[in-house]
């Protein structure tokens, strides 16, 4: 079966160019990021940005790479105007059902944790990173305050300890790492 007999040459040329351009748009995002990535890939991707953004092709495809790391969650405590408290975690395996809902919520601490430096990082790194993660955490805090009818919320990022095989065999477990993300409240009258 000669494939040239089904579509005319001019159509095959046009479609071939379209296929090549499309496949470049699939290949360039994982080449251009996440780091490490080359300057060349980052320059080549520039003309493709409109198309990649429009069809949501900007993926890295680095599943469980470079290393499967520890899991993360948010621990929150809300204080209500009447003095009562509520608390919870994101995600919450006990209530987030079906599992896909759990996973979508689980992505919040997983993705934000990538922006939060570990305790002991240099102050300039901490300050720089805070400019990135705090706007995201503020939205999260506002959502939880509204949902829980609270006036003040404290948020903590928890990095869950990933035990070594020998620790599991010996029945030992390490401590989870708690990284405070701050306390947030609705602005009062007179606040700037």
């Amino acid at each position: 079966m000669d494939p040239r007999s089904f579509w005319p040459r001019w159509l095959r040329i046009i479609v071939s160019v379209a296929i090549a351009v499309y496949l470049l748009a699939v290949v360039l995002p994982p080449l251009a990021g996440p780091p490490p990535a080359s300057l060349l890939a980052n320059q080549l991707i520039q003309p493709f940005r409109p198309f990649i953004g429009a069809v949501a092709l900007g993926h890295g495809y680095r599943f469980f790479a470079p290393n499967p790391g520890p899991g993360h969650s948010f621990r929150w405590t809300v204080q209500r105007p009447d003095g009562t408290h509520a608390s919870g975690t994101i995600p919450d395996a006990a209530t987030d059902w079906p599992r896909l809902l759990y996973h979508r919520r689980f992505m919040l601490p997983e993705k934000i944790s990538a922006l939060v430096p570990l305790p002991g990082a240099p102050p300039e790194v901490v300050a720089e990173a805070k400019r990135e993660w705090q706007p995201l955490v503020k939205d999260l805090a506002a959502h939880l305050l509204t949902r829980e009818g609270g006036s003040r919320i404290k948020l903590v990022l928890v990095e869950h300890y990933l035990p070594l095989p020998e620790e599991v065999i010996e029945g030992r477990a390490g401590e989870d790492l708690a990284i405070p993300l701050g306390t947030y409240a609705w602005p009062q009258k007179g606040d700037r």
Partner: protein
């Protein structure tokens, strides 16, 4: 043995370029049976419908004004004006629900193959809108659904196993170039995904050391099946980790030869079923397995789908003839 390029005459180079053009034409423009595309359409439509149903469970938090992320902040952090989402235009909770519901309906229509081309476009628009509105809540499942829906928009995905094919029976499900392009796109995209996923793993020491599987098994946040017994079997952990790494890196090369393809696809089922069952990401595992269906020959699907249909037809014909026989006797 082929001649080194630098030693070739201009005529030899022309012949070599001609071979390339012929190979390219054969690869992309040889008409293909649309049946595998239809099977992918049904599975991808069902997965997207399920995904949209789950988005709807907490739709205000994911896509609403007061959600996990304020829309104007997502808008600003996206690559504007390209990274669009129709949820940015939804001014009310009702509007958000309607848009989410439209995507759900489009996904169901895609699965059953009714108004398939339109359903594929609307479903894709809904998926892109969700991804660009809630970037902190999406993961590999959404990446893969996007990569499946684009070929489904291009190819004749509703040509068979669809309501459309019943309503417009005259159109038939003949092999077509569009079906070939769509299937080839799924195949090539999948190779790209595995190649980058595998290369990304090569950056990690735990994959070289053969302990990466332990990192996944010991992570309580992911765990749905307790695999911590692997702690007592480090060599088994090494073997599974290294096999997975080699399979993923080599997928793009080994999935094409007929000799290795069944092994590569069997490994894909094992890996993705394992991730689905042990790490609670069944939808992601299914999406990857659905994409792998693009490498299953159409004759297999034809044998499974239509032999069953034929056998049920022959069963019913047999029972009719028996009924006739009873009357005669």
């Amino acid at each position: 043995m082929s001649e080194p390029l630098e030693n070739r005459s201009p005529a030899g180079i022309n012949a070599w370029l001609h071979d390339w053009a012929t190979g390219w034409n054969h690869f992309w423009f040889t008409p293909a049976d649309p049946l595998p595309l239809a099977v992918i359409r049904i599975a991808a439509g069902l997965l997207l419908a399920w995904s949209m149903a789950v988005w709807l469970l907490d739709v205000d938090a994911f896509f609403g004004e007061g959600g996990w992320q304020q829309p104007y902040k997502v808008w600003r952090s996206n690559d504007q004006p390209w990274q669009w989402s129709w949820y940015f235009a939804a001014a009310s909770p009702t509007g958000t629900r309607v848009l989410c519901g439209i995507t759900l309906i489009a996904a169901v229509l895609l699965a059953i193959g009714l108004a398939t081309p339109l359903a594929a476009i609307v479903a894709f628009a809904g998926l892109v809108s969700a991804v660009n509105r809630a970037p902190l809540n999406v993961f590999g499942l959404d990446d893969m659904l996007g990569l499946l829906l684009i070929p489904l928009m291009i190819g004749p995905a509703g040509a068979t196993l669809s309501v459309d094919s019943l309503l417009f029976a005259g159109r038939g499900a003949a092999p077509s170039v569009r079906a070939a392009i769509a299937i080839r796109l799924v195949q090539v995209q999948l190779c790209i995904v595995y190649l980058f996923s595998g290369c990304g793993k090569l950056l990690g020491a735990s994959w070289w050391e053969g302990t990466a599987l332990w990192g996944a098994a010991a992570n309580v946040q992911y765990r749905t099946l307790d695999l911590t017994w692997l702690a007592r079997h480090p060599l088994l952990t090494n073997a599974i980790t290294l096999t997975t790494l080699f399979w993923e890196v080599a997928y793009a090369a080994l999935v094409w030869p007929r000799l290795t393809r069944p092994l590569v696809l069997a490994m894909a089922v094992a890996v993705h079923l394992g991730i689905g069952l042990a790490m609670g990401m069944m939808e992601f595992g299914l999406a990857m397995m659905v994409a792998n269906l693009a490498f299953v020959p159409a004759t297999w699907f034809r044998a499974i789908v239509f032999r069953r249909a034929e056998s049920s037809r022959s069963d019913s014909a047999h029972s009719v003839s028996q009924a006739t026989l009873k009357v005669v006797s």
